[in-house]
Symmetry: C2
Subunit: 220 residues, 2 copies
DNA sequence: GCCAGTTTGTTCTCTCGTTCACAAACTCAT
DNA sequence: ATGAGTTTGTGAACGAGAGAACAAACTGGC
């Protein structure tokens, strides 16, 4: 009796759906029309049992004895994670990373539309990046009046991140992707995801060191 | 019971240690010499119980009734995750993202040293990025002979990622940070971490959409 | 129509991670 | 020295996720 939530999809599953979506797109481009859970799982780099369980949360979109229709499943996953909608994105901080994000083709092809590039450095103002003009950060509120900003991307230094987040929340942004190495304090209704490049490397370094000391210990 | 935990530190804890480290650095810069688990947890954005349990895997570095010595704990965590060592890093793919990574100051300050920038685009060769000259990818093997490459960062398009990974593994790299939107197949002894910008946005979009449809349902 | 082969959807179990609660241990004032 | 007040470290309950196994359901041949 799991009457938990109407859309009760576990967080871990949500994080994998985009991976499946990407694998399905690859399969579709190769001309594949139908695939088994085994084949799709291999393309996505997960186990087939986990894949089937993940998909079962969305509904029964496969056919027993046959497999999944690639185009149909792709549509269903895309609909579930909101790919059919158009998400206006504002990028704050147009340094090296911000420019990389603005130019990232993976956004546009997945329903994300970068509508504004903001930075407080005067030397950037007016400069064209990815077909958009860099504007001063203070113009955020006027931009928010024209378009319904859904997602804010923070790519500023750590000491400026909290202020940017506060301003984004103030103009109604409820989803933030934070690249600054800082812990953001936001209201409960705002979702924050953090990507920290240095932390990823440090995790790798830990495992690397562990292997090294392990080898030493084994030889001793 | 011969459990399969070589060092006894859970993966989830390892992923948080760098966060604690960063919080400790901030506290140290503010002149704080001692802090309680409560204060450190707040600075790191986690619960105090989880923090204490995480730290307990490293040892008993706190003092009951007092708290943790910031400098001492910082050293211990840094040593545990290998921050005292020097990790040579090679970045492959010097596009927008690769350049951002090469310039990222957070690497050098944490023991990571970018020793080579590789890209196959001839127009980049010889160009100076972050004080290093961009070299052709084929020079990887000769570079690997001179320095003991620990970590490889892949910032190339998806269709080139697997080939780059294979070459990195061939020259002895055992840790890979992959920014390409592709599933990499590597031998078991190679650790791979994946950062996918589009996926992070898609996860945010899912929650955004869920909130929207939830509000609709509530009003209906 | 029926049987063999295939593949999904789901149930069950086990492992891993989180949270709670509290004893152990330290400081400080008296 | 002792007791009151803190704070750590950890054992135990709790919840979420991973993986194996299997019944249900579909296809195709005869």
């Amino acid at each position: 009796m799991t009457h938990s939530t109407p859309t009760g999809i576990p967080e871990a599953t949500v994080a994998r759906l985009p991976v499946y979506l990407r694998a399905l797109t690859t399969l579709a481009e190769q001309g594949t029309e139908t695939c088994s859970s085994e084949a799709l799982a291999a393309a996505a780099g997960v186990g087939s049992a986990k894949l089937r369980k993940d998909l079962s949360y969305l509904g029964s979109y496969g056919t027993r004895g046959v497999g999944y229709d690639v185009a149909y499943l792709r549509y269903q996953i895309g609909r579930e994670i909101g790919l059919t909608q158009d998400w206006p994105v504002v990028v704050v901080g147009i340094g090296n990373l911000g420019q990389a994000l603005a130019n990232y083709s993976g956004f546009r092809s997945r329903g994300f539309r970068v509508v504004a590039l903001l930075d407080d450095a005067p030397e950037l103002h007016g400069r064209q990046v990815a077909g958009l003009e860099v504007r001063p950060f203070r113009e955020l509120s006027s931009i928010a009046e024209r378009v319904d900003l859904a997602i804010g991307v923070i790519a500023v230094p750590a000491d400026a991140a909290q202020n940017v987040a506060d301003r984004l929340v103030a103009v109604g942004v409820t989803s933030i992707l934070n690249f600054a190495p800082a812990v953001l304090a936001v209201p409960d209704h705002v979702a924050v995801r953090k990507v920290d490049l240095a932390i990823e490397l440090q995790i790798l370094a830990y495992h690397q060191q562990r292997r090294a000391t392990e080898a030493e210990g084994a030889s001793a």
